[in-house]
Amino acid sequence: MADALTLTATTPCYGLLPKSIGTCDLIETNLGRLTSIAPYKQSALSEALKDAHRLAFPAPNRMTGNDGARAIWFGRDMALLVGPTPDAALAEHAALTDQTDAWACVTLSGEDAAAVLARLVPVDLSAAKFKRGHTARTQLGHLNASITRTEADSYLILVFRSMATTLVHDLVTAMESLAARR
């Protein structure tokens, strides 16, 4: 997508975010490079990932790494490398696919963030069950999503880029109805 007047490249949530409603903030997050990693053999790939990016291959429902470079569990036998350009050595042990422009990436943070997501997501994302570094492939409204708790009160949410408007609409509606009840 490009801006209609200037023809400059735009981000998935261009013109939609940021939003600050009630106690919650919703911002678009630039994660850098996104690469899906589908290992041929997980043990060999895990070693290569440690050598190249100092990341462990994440167990199901978990994320490894931090702001600079993360590996987010992304489905059966799949992880998403977030941040760095993948080292060429990884290609020996896994199918690597560039996903950089394919996902709308937003961060929902604030006191009520868990309560907002509780209205949309059929998984318990409260702090007791879903701690920092936990992730889930699940649904947000009707959208297939990847949801990761990156900080105590902050969630990283990824959906297909084409669903950016629906994602923001669903989240903003939930944020507004929650704020109205406070």
Binding site: R76, P122, A136, R137, T138, Q139, N144
Partner: protein, 87 residues
């Protein structure tokens, strides 16, 4: 209704896609008798009680599961990966 995905844990039914009885896991040999193939393609038992079914965890890990569901009570008594069940 919640299904116990072996990878993701207990998940809501809306994350899954239903395929039906897990007959596809016992596909006859290519040169099997025509009657065997007819049975495989068209005939189903449809008896009340525990039934092995194929469910896809579409909105989750993406794995195909064999879920054992009681067709009378809807009680789920187990789930395993289809890749393991087929071995």
């Amino acid at each position: 209704m919640r299904l116990p995905c072996p990878i993701c844990g207990d998940r809501d039914r809306r994350e899954f896609y239903y395929q039906g009885s897990a007959v596809a896991l016992s596909r006859p040999a290519p040169d099997a008798d025509a009657a065997v193939w007819e049975n495989y393609v068209h005939l189903r038992e449809n008896q009340p009680g525990d039934l092995d079914e194929l469910w896809s965890h579409d909105a989750g890990c993406g794995a195909w599961l064999v879920v054992t569901r009681n067709t009378v009570t809807h009680a789920i008594s187990g789930a395993k990966l289809a890749s393991e069940a087929a071995r």
